[in-house]
């Protein structure tokens, strides 16, 4: 234990310390101890004791209520939301009382009844000069005994071996994932390679095909490619690339750039729903302003200008899906997207 009134001036350093001109105040030391009510009045001490006991009893009651509500209420496949909520509240509140009873009880005990004299303890240097000197000597001896300085061949081959050794550790992670090939470029919208059959646009999530006449002005259809729901494997992977938003505008509202004249049908246009920023579904269509908004980072795309970015962090327009009508009047994709959908990546421009 140190001296409670150790008020020696601080060790000097290179820092210029102010206030030296007029001298420094003497440290008056730790203020004198003020006795608490419980220190002087036995009645107050007794009262504090009763309060602590009551808090511990509350904790006991909390534990009992927890056990009762755990065993009295059973949950199963047909339990109602009310039952679940009731049990959650009962279990939670009883735990809260059980824990707060113990916690506040102990703290109250410590505050009111245990000694509250502040004590001073001396600090010691984190390291002593003696230890440092001894350690340096030991390390020097160790290095000397290994002879690593005298035998550079050993040293250099060891460094070489250690540098190479982690490589297998990297290599064993090679099977984590296949390398990115051209998967990101292709979606289910590409016409069948053998038959040339074009893929119909169908409703998400039911998978029913859409007639051009179903799409009235102002409506927005959430679209998946035909056959997506029948996929046994990789359904979500395909869906993550293929989801499309289908909308119909007045044809005169659309500003179509050269080469895209045949991509829409009577003002019906289809755009990838995957944001070109970081890939959230851009699903918010405002039918009066013709803006598409991404709810994740608020990128806004102007449908009348082929989904150019007009606000927010995206930089590229949404890719357009070329569509036409087949002989039965259903909407089909003329071809796959002409560029990769979704967020940009390094190899995006590779063809």
């Amino acid at each position: 234990m140190g001296n409670p009134s150790d008020g020696a001036p601080q060790q000097g350093g290179t820092v210029a310390t102010a206030g030296q001109a007029g001298g420094r105040f003497e440290d008056p030391g730790i203020p004198p101890h003020r006795p608490r009510l419980a220190d002087t009045d036995p009645k107050a001490a007794k009262r504090a004791e009763r309060q602590v006991t009551a808090l511990f009893v509350i904790s006991v009651i909390g534990t009992v209520v927890f056990l009762i509500s755990y065993f009295a209420i059973d949950l199963g496949n047909d339990s109602s939301i009310d039952t679940i909520r009731t049990q959650n509240i009962l279990l939670g509140l009883s735990t809260a009382f059980a824990m707060l009873g113990i916690g506040t009880g102990i703290v109250h005990w410590a505050k009111a009844l245990m000694p509250d004299h502040e004590v001073s303890e001396a600090r010691h240097a984190v390291r002593t000069e003696e230890d440092r000197a001894a350690a340096v000597r030991i390390v020097d001896d160790i290095i000397e005994e290994t002879g690593i300085k005298r035998r550079p061949l050993i040293r250099n081959t060891l460094i070489g071996a250690l540098a190479l050794a982690p490589l297998p550790a990297l290599a064993v992670f090679g099977d984590l994932g296949p390398n990115a090939n051209d998967k990101l470029r292709h979606t289910m919208w590409a016409p069948n390679a053998q038959t040339g059959k074009k893929v119909r646009l169908t409703r998400d999530p039911d998978g029913t095909p859409i007639r051009a006449s179903d799409v009235t002005i102002g409506s927005a259809f959430h679209v998946i490619p035909e056959g997506l729901n029948d996929l046994k494997e990789g359904k979500l992977n395909e869906k993550a690339k293929a989801v499309v938003l289908l909308m119909r505008l007045n044809p005169e509202d659309l500003n179509i750039s050269p080469g895209r004249e045949s991509w829409s049908y009577n003002g019906i246009v289809a755009y990838s729903k995957i944001c070109t920023h970081v890939g959230c579904p851009v699903a918010l269509y405002e039918q009066q302003t013709h803006h598409l908004l991404c709810p994740c980072h608020q990128s806004t795309f102007d449908l009348t200008h082929e989904c150019q970015v007009i606000f927010g962090p995206a930089s590229r327009p949404l890719p357009q899906l070329p569509i036409e009508v087949d002989s039965d009047g259903y909407l089909v994709a003329t071809s796959d997207f002409h560029e990769p959908v979704g967020p940009s990546y390094w190899e995006r421009e590779y063809s």
């Binding site: 003020r34 608490r36 009510l37 419980a38 109602s80 939301i81 009310d82 679940i84 909520r85 959650n88 509240i89 939670g92 703290v107 505050k111 009111a112 509250d116 409703r203 998400d204 999530p205 859409i210 007639r211 006449s213 179903d214 799409v215 009235t216 002005i217 102002g218 409506s219 927005a220 259809f221 959430h222 909308m247 579904p281 699903a283 918010l284 269509y285 405002e286 039918q287 009066q288 302003t289 803006h291 908004l293 709810p295 608020q298 806004t300 606000f311």
Partner: protein
């Protein structure tokens, strides 16, 4: 029952009872079905239309034109249908209080009869979505399918728990909490303001019924975990832990380190 059948000994009594029963059923059915028809096909009476026209001229024509043909300050109402008129008027959005990014929901300005008359007049301007059939609003559809449709078609604007969300430049998708089923149905078929139209070719009437069922289910059951903090997701949760959670903890630390009196 036994006493009754003992008295009715005549063999023809059974036949007579049957005939009477059939007749009664037939009469009741025909009454009921005409009643249904009257509701189903915008069977507004001529007097509905004419009183609706008076209300329209007095309250709506300034912006929408004397015959609902529209003007610079309000769109044409030809062909928007009774559903659109009922939605806008019964939710208080029309007549508009002031122009802004979008019309806001407020207490309705017209009573149910007046709303019906206005809807009748607007319906008479041109064919459009009619008022929904009662059977589509009963909340007895498939909540799971409704939930799936809701998440695909509605949740991006209205939030997965229908708590509402932001649109561009001051517009927003409102919370659907407490919105009557009829208004929800009408909003889907008419696409008010910036909301896209979800025609019957897009989401079938049964699908809309499922969506309504889903909304009614989640509103009725509440959150199993206790107070839902507005169903706004991680933002309200984070705000809560920083303000309430940390606040209570700090209060405890101050108590804990203070000197006992």
């Amino acid at each position: 029952m036994k006493a009754l059948s003992q008295k009715r000994r005549h063999p023809l009594a059974v036949v007579a009872l049957l005939v009477m029963g059939l007749l009664l059923t037939g009469v009741l059915y025909s009454v009921a079905s005409t009643a249904n028809q009257a509701k189903a096909d915008s069977g507004f009476t001529a007097s509905d239309v004419s009183s609706g026209q008076k209300l329209f001229v007095a309250n709506c024509a300034t912006c929408h034109g004397m015959n609902g043909q529209g003007s610079a300050s309000g769109p044409s109402l030809v062909g928007v249908g009774a559903a659109a008129a009922d939605f806008q008027v019964s939710t208080g959005r029309m007549p508009m209080q002031m122009s802004g990014p979008q019309a806001q929901r407020k207490p309705a300005q017209f009573n149910a009869d007046q709303t019906r008359q206005l809807a009748a007049f607007v319906a008479s301007l041109g064919a459009g979505p009619t008022l929904p059939d009662e059977s589509m609003l009963d909340g007895k559809g498939d909540a799971t399918h409704g939930g799936e449709l809701f998440r695909v078609n509605c949740a991006m604007c209205h939030n997965a728990a229908a708590a509402g969300g932001a649109l561009t430049r001051g517009k927003f998708a409102p919370s659907l909490d407490g919105v009557p089923a009829q208004n929800i149905y009408e909003a889907m078929v008419t696409g008010p303001q910036n909301m896209p139209v979800f025609s019957d070719a897009n989401i079938s009437p049964e699908g809309k019924r499922d969506i309504i069922t889903f909304l009614q289910t989640i509103q009725k059951q509440g959150s199993p975990g206790g107070a839902d903090l507005g169903s706004l997701g991680p933002v309200s949760e984070g705000l809560f832990i920083w303000v309430a959670g940390l606040g209570v903890i700090i209060a405890f630390t101050i108590w804990l380190t203070s000197r006992s009196s």
